[in-house]
Symmetry: D2
Subunit: 331 residues, 4 copies
């Protein structure tokens, strides 16, 4: 039985807590949240105790912590948890600052603990199936990747101010997908060009951010990746990618709530995609926590490490710079 | 907290047990199975106790039982559980004999307990969504229903011998779908014609059963239903229906493991359907048990009752007779 | 150069005339229609002459005639054209009377001319591709066929009165599809059951016809076919079939005007099918006339003969009888 | 009756000739080709005469010419035809040199003749339907365009040497699609970044060209366009685009030879796209020639003019420069 504590009882903290509480061999022992009522509510629902960070880290029976708190607390909690000898699951990103993210990696390494970063898309059944088939050679050598990543609506402008900008906040996932799909053989980004606009809401411009972006990455081997994103797709949450290889293409579509198709005088209508990430990635969140504990048990390496978090963060920084200057970045 | 016992620790018993054990407010207390090792294994996995039928029925703390044992035990367990004042969830069918199924309904009624029959297709997200949209008037008045219901492979011939035949064993679900979709306004089957063949395995003929069937039902209002089934679809488990209404059609497709589409020189290939009923109806099994306890809690009526089980059984009997004689049956 | 005359300048006559006029090596010489203005208009459009039936048949330079006139004139025109030594393309059906249709076959045989019946669905690119792949063994031995055949709206009741009824007027095509797909190895229908309703317009009932039908056919080899039709599908002209074989299934979908898919807050919407038969079967009409002249040139047999017309007519008669009596028909 | 001459009896010349010969009111009078046998063959097939350029231009009865000869002859033939007072249909591109293309536009303007450039994608039923629905406001204001444009295989390296490079030879169509879809309200490209690789054949690198490209364009209004292309898609000719608007998305899929879907143990397989441009754009080629003569008749403006050709050429030049330097181009 692994004893676990969760830091953060917000939206994503509740998801991870419920998923890990449902795993056999895992016991959710503590919940911490700066808002006591949030911690208490989640702890009660899942039969856990509310505890302070200090209590959690001092409890020798705790094997692992899940860091689901706000982004600005990640690096501190990683360092302290590592120092206390806890294995760590941390929601992306590691940190908005690449140097601090790198420091987290070193803290983890020095402490000899395991640390997984929650890039849940790698656990999406559709995306993961494509990745496995690509690795198995089904389409030969990968050549091009087109990522479509669109949110159904923008977060509050207040949130955006502290988010690090759309490239760090939203495209961080897409940069990880790029590395996962096009760089699995050690290839890496060599050249990145980004451009961006504000097309949906002037308030986004007022805080110095964008709502629409177009990023291109070329790797050392000459592979090409294009990412298109928007904060506001009228039809909902659109998460697709397609990877072209030398002998074929693997195309990943959206998940939909049902397989009902309605035929009438206006056409033939299927479901739009799942509403947002909690729905689309419900299975992915479950599978990534399962993976975390499976690896802790078996000693196998995590699919997503601090190094992946750092690498994605570097791409996000490069894209931010490229969009600001209008010039590409050499990596 | 509702205390529950499960009768039957086979394939479907394990599914229902796991689902009800995961419900908040529900406690799986007892497991019974004629094979002690099966009961012990399931009980241990889910933290329940092994108990005899007698112990279960004598325990006043037990609110409900889930009957997941072999078909020939259903009617006896329903009667005894009802007499003991337990609420009942019973896997389909009620009984292979219509009179015995009717008697079960009376036993339940006399005892004043609640009894739900497990026609899980009514809880499939896709099928249920279509049903709700039909009821909401999206396609006007229903006129025709085409049901495609195909298994990936036949069960052992030994099983088939005791199964009551393909119409009672396999099409019982399709007959319930027919009633659910075409008869929600009180319409009923008036005329049924069935024909059947053995096309996949002579051993099936040797035990007097069929592997391929074609059933047509006309209702009192003149609505038409066609059902086609096979025991062996080479591409897997195929569960679809489409209902034509006066202003449109609702078409229910299969669920697939992923949304990956592979493009190569041979064409564009999507996933085949989920492998079999445990995969396709995983969500449905979960939702029907949830519905059972929701209704127990709220007092709302079940979506599928003994009367539904009896009605489907009558259609299965009529189809069996029609296929044997080559003549239609007036209902 | 083959010289051709067309009998009938109505809707279908105009289609066939335009298609044959566009063929290289074919000259449309004459057009006949009982309505002189119709004949004149078509003749002028395509650079042909208006002529009487007698003139056409007496002209030794005429190699072939295309009979596109009303159904009740087919058998007479076939007999006279055959007697005059003309090769014949005749729109379906041969005749509403099976004996007269058989007599046409004998007239053709005795005269030693070639006669093709226009079952255009066999030339539809999608349906024909499925047929060829079935014959090539792609799905093994055919076992079941499900035909969905729905019109967007009923013809005028006046037309229906003289049409021979829905089975002879509309399902004649579906019966031919059944034979084409399930009976290509010499298998034949053995048992047929039909039922039908009036669900869309009481006026149809008043003239003794139906608007909705459900037909089941079992062949000597035990193959099963189900056909569902309606005169009024709110979403348009729906022409699909799927054939299950021992190793797979071939499923034929509708053709659509475009491949545009619109995503919005209500879902993901594709085109409904082509409006009606002139649009859906535009390519089929072109290809069947091409086939007619190719066969005349090469001496190869036609894909659809008078015998096919007679066989489909017998099934239509059987279905008419079955729907009227409520009893199946042994064939 | 419009009399027409065709310059060029190669692959595309034969397509256009057959299409215009089939139009009512249009007479193909002359065919010219530097290879006499090619001209003679085409002329004979369609009942036209072989003639020299001089003869064509001197013949007062000729209303229009269709320039389907090699790219390097376009500007000369446009100028001479304009000077001779002929209306002009010219295959894309106008000329590989922007200044010469601009000069063509002036020659046409000065001569007062009409000149249409053959960007056939604007006449593809799917693409054109999307364009019309976009213009009708179905998805609100356009924001992003993703164009996937992939050939099934590279042309001979010898051809590539003289082609002007992949951006001018292949993406010229995609640049026109960009302008057609995103700039219909007068918006224009403001910033373009291109990168490219050789991933399929080193011989392409040897002649200084690329086989894989990724282009991003930002317009003055901040709209974003991404184009991805390859010379070699293993699954065939892939021609899609999707345009995101403020209230939805229009997605244009490939055309396929049939609507057959095969289900077997490996999955569910649909047709791959039409083989190459002659198949995919068969309808488009027919419709653009029809449009040309309709406009000549009615005096309405062409959908694609020399100015469109020049604008696309400028984007191709910019992309060529950007890919070579690694720097974006301001337009």
């Amino acid at each position: 039985m692994k004893n676990v504590a969760v830091f953060g009882a917000g939206r994503i903290g509740r998801i991870h807590s419920a998923n890990l509480a449902a795993l056999s061999g895992v016991q959710l022992k503590y919940v911490f949240d700066p808002v006591p009522a949030a911690a208490a509510d989640l702890a009660q629902t899942l039969g856990a105790e509310v505890a302070s960070i200090e209590t959690v880290l001092a409890d020798k029976s705790i094997d692992a912590v899940a860091i689901c708190s706000s982004t600005d607390t990640h690096s501190d909690l990683i360092s302290r948890s590592a120092a206390a000898g806890k294995n760590i699951f941390c929601e992306k990103p590691v940190d908005l600052s690449v140097p601090r993210a790198i420091a987290c990696g070193e803290a983890v390494k020095n402490a000899g603990v395991a640390c997984m970063i929650g890039f849940q898309r790698r656990f999406d059944p559709t995306f993961n199936n494509a990745s496995q088939r690509l690795l198995a050679g089904e389409i030969g050598n990968p050549e091009m990747l087109v990522v479509t990543s669109r949110d159904p609506g923008a977060p509050p402008v207040e949130y955006m101010k502290a988010s690090g900008g759309i490239f760090r906040d939203m495209l961080i996932h897409d940069f990880d997908v790029f590395r996962w799909i096009l760089c699995s053989d050690g290839d890496e980004a060599e050249w990145l060009s980004a451009t961006a606009s504000v097309l949906t809401d002037p308030a986004i411009k007022a805080v110095g951010d964008y709502d629409s972006t177009a990023v291109t990455i070329r790797t050392r081997k000459g592979r090409l990746c294009q990412i298109n994103t928007t904060r506001r797709a009228a039809y909902g949450y659109d998460q697709r990618f397609e990877v072209l290889g030398s002998t074929g293409m693997l195309q990943c579509g959206n998940h939909t709530p049902t397989e009902v198709v309605a035929w009438n005088a206006n056409g033939i209508r299927a479901d739009k995609p799942e509403a947002f990430f909690l729905q689309r990635y419900a299975a992915a969140y479950r599978l990534e926590i399962e993976h975390f504990f499976d690896c802790l048990q078996s000693g196998k390496p995590f699919r997503t490490t601090v190094a992946d978090g750092v690498a994605a963060q570097k791409l996000a920084d490069a894209a931010t710079q490229s969009a600001a200057t209008g010039q590409p970045v050499q990596l």
